[in-house]
Symmetry: C2
Subunit: 387 residues, 2 copies
C-alpha cells in the first residue's frame, strides 16, 4: 500500500513510518517541524538526540534500500495539503500532525486558540483533500483516550448504543475532554464522522492511551534513526518522565493523589496498531473507532512500578494537581477492536523499564530537572488580558 504519514517527524510518526516501510509499504512522511519548534519555545529538548528528517530518511535508505519521501509543509496550508495528496496518491493517510500536549494548550489564550485552529483546520484540509482528490483514501486519525474523560459508565469504542425512554439509537460516545487540546480532538472526531456521512469517505479514529517506550525494532537499528524521548512536564508522557526522574535520583512527581487511571500502550504496539488499521481499512462511509491501549493503570501504580524496577531507592512525591480532573474515578474501557485485527500486546514489564532505564542512563547528562516541574495551571489564566 501507499501510506502517507502526517506528522512523520514526530515521536510516533517517525517510528510508524519506518515500521510501515519495513513491512513493505510505500511510505511518505509530511511535517512542518512544529514539534521541534515547541522545544525552542519551551527551552526543552528530546533526551535522546534526534537527527534532521532528511538525515533520518537518508540513513533508512542506506540501511534498507527503502525510500521514504518527505513533504515539508503545513496542513493548514490547503495548497500544500491538496498537492501532496494528489502527488503521492496514497491508499491511506495516517494523521499524527497535531499539537498533542494538553499542558501546551492550557498555557494561555493564544496557545488554546493555536491548538484548536491548527488541529481542526489541518484536519479539515485533509478531509477536503480526500473528498476532492480520491474519496477512497482511508484516513487513520490519531485521537486520544483523554477525549472521553472519566465517565461513570464503561467507555465503549467511539459509539454507544443508548436506550432512552423506550427507544434506542447508536450515537457517538458522549465525551468530556479535559483540556483545550483534548477538545480539539473531539472537534476533529465530529468533523470526520460528518465527512464519512456526507462524502462516503472511510476513516478510523484511534483513541490512544499514554504511550511509553522509546524504541521499536526499526529505530533501534541505528542511533541516527532514534525517535524523540520527551520527559518535560509539557510534552513528556508520564511513564517516560518517571523513568527519567528515577535515573537522576529525584522524586517521581504524582499530581494529586495519583488515583487518576489511564490507558497505556507500548510504542511498539502503537506502530503495530497503525499497520493493522491501514491493512484492514474501514468501509466506505464508515467512521470506525478503536481504543488504542493495552492495559490501564493508575498514575500512582505507574510510579510504583517504575520505582520498583529502579535499582535506587526512589521516593514518590505528591504535587498539587495543576489540572482539573477527577483523582478517584470509575474507569473501564473496551479495547477489543485492534485485538480482533490481530494485535498482540506488549504489557508493561520490567524488561521494558530496564531498556528505558538504560537509554536514560546513557543520556542522563542531558536531563534538565527543572523541566519536569509543572508550571501550567488549568484553573487560572496567565494574565488579565492575554494577547
Amino acid at each position: 500500500m501507499r501510506i502517507l504519514i502526517l506528522g512523520g517527524d514526530g515521536y510516533l510518526g517517525w517510528p510508524t513510518a519506518l515500521h510501515l516501510s519495513a513491512a513493505g509499504h510505500d511510505v511518505a512522511v509530511a511535517d512542518n517541524f512544529a514539534r521541534r519548534g515547541y522545544d525552542f519555545e519551551m527551552g526543552v529538548d528530546s533526551l535522546v538526540p534526534i537527527e534532521a528528517l532528511q538525515t533520518r530518511v537518508a540513513v533508512w535508505r542506506e540501511l534498507t534500500g527503502k525510500p521514504v519521501a518527505a513533504y515539508i509543509g503545513d496542513l493548514c496550508d490547503a495548497d500544500f495539503t491538496a498537492h501532496m495528496v494528489a502527488d503521492f496518491a496514497p491508499d491511506a493517510i495516517v494523521h499524527y500532525a497535531e499539537q498533542r500536549a494538553a499542558p501546551y494548550s492550557m498555557v494561555d489564550r493564544k496557545h488554546a486558540v493555536y491548538t484548536q485552529t491548527n488541529n481542526v483546520v489541518g484536519t479539515l484540509n485533509v478531509l477536503y483533500a480526500i473528498a476532492e482528490i480520491n474519496p477512497d483514501i482511508h484516513l487513520v486519525k490519531l485521537g486520544t483516550m483523554g477525549e472521553y474523560g472519566t465517565p461513570n459508565i464503561d467507555i465503549e469504542e467511539g459509539w454507544l448504543q443508548i436506550d432512552h425512554n423506550g427507544r434506542t439509537d447508536r450515537v457517538l460516545y458522549p465525551k468530556r475532554p479535559g483540556s483545550f487540546y483534548h477538545l480539539s480532538k473531539v472537534h476533529d472526531s465530529h468533523n470526520i464522522e460528518f465527512a464519512c456521512r456526507i462524502w462516503g469517505i472511510r476513516a478510523t479514529d484511534l483513541n490512544q492511551g499514554v504511550v511509553y517506550g522509546q524504541q521499536t525494532d526499526e529505530t533501534a537499528a541505528d542511533d541516527r534513526l532514534a525517535t524523540r524521548y520527551d520527559y518535560d512536564a509539557v510534552f513528556g508522557t508520564v511513564l517516560n518522565r518517571f523513568v527519567v526522574q528515577s535515573v537522576i535520583g529525584v522524586p517521581l512527581t504524582v499530581y494529586g493523589n495519583g488515583g487518576q487511571t489511564r490507558g497505556l500502550i507500548d510504542i511498539r504496539d502503537t506502530v503495530r496498531c497503525i499497520q493493522l488499521a491501514c491493512e484492514n481499512p474501514a468501509d466506505r462511509g464508515e467512521f470506525r473507532v478503536f481504543n488504542q491501549l493495552t492495559q490501564t493503570m493508575s498514575v500512582l501504580q505507574i510510579a510504583e512500578t517504575v520505582a520498583a524496577a529502579s535499582s535506587e531507592q526512589v521516593p514518590i512525591e505528591r504535587l498539587d494537581n495543576p489540572r482539573v480532573e477527577q483523582e478517584e474515578h470509575y474507569y473501564n474501557v473496551v479495547y477489543t477492536g485492534l485485538a480482533d485485527l490481530g494485535l498482540e500486546a506488549h504489557l508493561l514489564s520490567d524488561t521494558l523499564i530496564d531498556s528505558l532505564l538504560s537509554i536514560t542512563k546513557r543520556y542522563a547528562h542531558r536531563v534538565r530537572p527543572e523541566a519536569m516541574l509543572p508550571t501550567i495551571q488549568w484553573r487560572r489564566t496567565s494574565s488579565v488580558i492575554s494577547n
Copy 2:
C-alpha cells in the same frame, strides 16, 4: 443589568438589543458587519431595507431616550474582545456573533474553515475575556437545534442521563450535526462546558429552532429600526422564504419529501427567551442548556400552512434535497426550561403569517426569485483542488 449583545447588528441581535433596552437594561452591541458582507459576496440583500447600525442606535435614542453603545470589531481579534468586555463591564454577554448559515458553511473548503475558525475562535476569545476580566459574567450563547440532528430517541435539554451496563452518568447529549456550521456550534458547546468546569464561569447554551417573523414591538416602532428579512436559499429561514415565494407567486420549494421535522420559534419569543435567560442566570460553574423552540412541524406542514394562509393558490414543489439529512424521522424534543422561566409562547398562527405577508407585499419589488433556488450541494465539493 448591563448586557452586551455580540452580533447586535444581525437579524436577531438587533431586536434583542432593543427588547432588553426597552425592558430597562443597559445595553451595548458589538458587530463586525460580517453578515452585511455575506450579502455582497452572495449578491443578495435583506428584503426589508435596514439602516446602518449607527443610524439604528441614534433613532432608538431619539424615540426612547435610551442609549445603546456600539463596539465595532471582530471577536477573533482578542484585543478588541478583551478591551470591550473590560470597558463595558457587562453582567451578561449574549453571543449571536457567529456565521449562522449551514449552506454558507458548505460552499467549499474555504467557507467550512472560515465558519469553524470564526465561530470557535471568537467564542474562545469571549471565554478567556470572561475568565480573565470577570468570571461572574453570565454567557448566554446561541446554539441551534440542528446540532442534535435527528436522533431516534427523545432530544433532552443538552444533558442526558445514561444507564449503561448497570451504571449511570449524566453526559452532554450526544449530537449528530448536519453541516460544518452546525458542527462549529457543537465545538463551541464542548469548549464552553469545559470553561464552566475549570474556571467556574456561568453559561447558558440556547439551542434555537428555526426563527420566523420579522417584527418585534420595538422594531415595529419605526421603519428605521427594522431588522433583516432574509429569504434567499443561503441565509433565509424556511418559513420566511415560503412566505416570499407565496407572495411573488412561485412554488414553495420543499427539499426532498419535506418530512424533515424542525423546531420553530417566533422572533418575538426569541427576544423574550434571551431576556429570561439573562434575568435568571446560570449558577457559577453551571453549563445550562435550554432548547429554544415553541413547537415542531415538518417542512411540508410549514409549506402547507403558508399556502393555506395565502390569498393566492400556491403550489408546493419538491426539489432534490441538496443536503444530506433524514427526510422521515422520529422527532420529540423537550423544551420546558424556558417555559419554566416564564416564556409564554406565540404559536404559529394565521395572524403572524398575515403580518409577514403584508411586510412582504410592501417590499415585493425587491425580491430576486433566483436567490431562493438552492445551489450549494452537501454531497459534492466544488472543485478538484479548492483554494
